[in-house]
């Protein structure tokens, strides 16, 4: 686990990337480390302005980092210009050449590699079939819908036979239903070709839906990289938990026996919590239930507002506010006293930043190290 020599070479690896735009003091990327396993799909998730697009620019070579290195399959490509790097990008806008037909747009990368027009077109048609648009080969980009154009852009990127495929919020300009089909298309194609892929998105459901692993970025730093399920179940920090829609954080500490001591008393924890010492108990709002019995805690309703069919409830407990997402049917009144069940399996403890360092947890709880999964 500690040495990287035995680990397989990642398809794309960013090492200590720092980017500072001229005239800005704060770096956009601040020593970013990121590994994408060969042939896998990584979702780069984060709020707008966190440096996602800059990461794509650096990986593709359109931007040279102030410091740090980019490796493709183990080779340093930091100084290699984008046209020779073999990293294809699908941007938020399709970026098709307006004066070329769909077919010639997709044939473009092959032409750039010196293939004959005929060969390039044949290969392009195959790529168009892959995205289901071979019937539109003779059209011009202006005659396509947004979704079609973005599919052509994907086909064109694939036609470049890239070592790494970068997608910079490719579906964010599309309407929701179309976005789902595009996601399915992307996962199908990506699995089929096993091309190392980075999908940049600000949409966590999109990230969770398609990615083998998710990297959460904030203010130019990597907060956590893990499988989607792990990210939700075992956030590395309160920032991660909060970004993923889990605002509940009760202060306390984990006893040597592995129980969580706080103002609510000593609570049981699942075995997966390896941390000992001060930390915050987090639990997702969907997991909390209203109920009765010995394993419940007392709470007072602080606020309640409808969230679609559900009710988003904040209830004050002795240890702090707990956020609850109630299923349809129940809607408690303000200041009502009730009892909440916090199911043990859904509990997780985020260590406090300056806690005495115990052995790092298996899930890479501390710091920006690559997740071991």
């Amino acid at each position: 686990m500690t040495s990287s020599s035995s680990a397989p070479v990642p398809g794309l690896s960013l090492k200590r990337i720092t980017v500072t735009y001229p005239g800005h003091r704060e770096p956009v990327l601040d020593g970013l480390d990121l590994d994408v396993a060969d042939g896998r799909l990584l979702a780069l998730l984060g709020p707008s302005g966190c440096g996602k697009t800059t990461t794509v620019q650096v990986a593709s070579g359109l931007l040279t980092p102030s410091r740090g290195a980019v490796h493709l399959g183990g080779t340093d490509v930091t100084r290699i210009p984008p046209e020779h790097r073999g990293v294809a990008v699908v941007f938020q806008q399709p970026m098709l050449l307006p004066h070329r037909t769909v077919l010639d747009n997709v044939a473009f990368p092959a032409r750039m590699r010196g293939r004959s027009r005929r060969d390039a077109r044949t290969a392009a048609l195959a790529q168009l079939e892959r995205v289901g648009l071979d019937a539109l080969a003779a059209r011009y980009p202006r005659q396509l819908s947004g979704g079609q154009a973005q599919r052509v852009a994907l086909a064109r990127a694939l036609a470049a036979e890239p070592a790494v495929l970068l997608l910079d919020e490719p579906f964010s300009a599309l309407d929701p239903s179309l976005r789902h089909t595009m996601r399915d298309l992307l996962t199908t194609v990506q699995r089929e070709l096993a091309v190392t892929t980075v999908l940049v998105t600000h949409d966590q459901t999109e990230a969770a839906a398609v990615a083998d692993s998710v990297a959460l970025l904030d203010q130019g730093r990597l907060l956590q990289q893990a499988q989607p399920a792990d990210l939700y179940a075992r956030p590395a920090s309160l920032a991660v938990a909060r970004f993923l829609g889990c605002p509940t954080a009760l202060p306390g500490h984990v006893t040597p026996q592995g129980r969580f001591a706080c103002l609510l008393g000593e609570l049981d924890l699942p075995d997966t919590v390896a941390h000992r010492g001060p930390g915050h108990l987090v639990i997702r709002p969907e997991a909390v239930q209203v109920g009765t019995g010995p394993d419940t805690v007392a709470a007072v309703v602080h606020s309640a507002r409808p969230e679609g069919a559900f009710t988003a409830l904040v209830a004050d407990t002795a240890a702090g506010p707990v956020h609850v997402l109630l299923p349809p049917g129940t809607s408690p009144a303000l200041s009502e006293h009730l009892r909440l069940r916090l199911p043990v399996a859904h509990r997780w403890v985020v260590p406090d930043r300056h806690s005495p360092a115990g052995p790092p947890s298996i899930n890479g709880v501390a710091g920006p190290g690559p997740a071991a999964c």
């Binding site: 984008p82 046209e83 990008v89 970026m95 050449l97 037909t101 473009f108 750039m112």
Partner: protein, 261 residues
Amino acid sequence: MLLAGRGSLADGLGRGWSLSAYEGFLHDPAFADSLLFSLKIATLSTTVSAALALAVVGAVSASRRGRAALETAARATLAVPHLLAASAFGLLLSGAGLVSRLTHAVGWTDGPADFPVLVADPVPSAVLLTYVWKEAPFITIMLLAAYTPAVRDLESAVRTLGAGRLRRLRHVTLPLLAPALTEACLLDFAFTFAAYEAPALLGATVPRALPVEAVELYRSVELDDRPAALALAVVIGMVIALVALAAATISRRLLRARTGS
């Protein structure tokens, strides 16, 4: 106002004078010379200006500061009136002009007579230089205006697909700037073909550019010359109309290639 101008023009020619003015042209070798001369000036200056503008825009395309500097320089020359440019080139290129003094100082020429005749020569070197000096910046500005961030975004998108600098120029920049280039060339041609000042100041007496000829005829005291002058105006207008038609066809084809309709 434009229609009035056109209408009155047709009046002054058509009624009573018939086509004799035009017939006159057919028998007059000087007319053919003038027409060719003007065509030569317009075509050459447009071609050279366009080539120069394209080269410069292509060269600085990558850097934002380069584009800004180029734009400032082009604007500065754009602000200079044509007449002034012609006068200034006269001072610069005449037999006793500054260039002639320079070549003398370096020892290439022995005196004003030894200096190649650029002003008032049947080969309109000074006229062409003036036009290129004025029109290359004009075309540059038109090209820079069309060279939008969207075009540059497309260039970088295509870069990730393996297109190097020259290929980006050929497959993205040029096709996307082509409509603007066509338009700029048309305007340039129309202007240089019909302009009076530069060839009047810097051109030779024989052959005379068409507009100069027309103005001379118009001011002539002989009554017969007036319809001839108006007929020349019509000829100038028709040549420009033909070129405009050609340009429209080209830009329609460019447009069609983009919309596929």
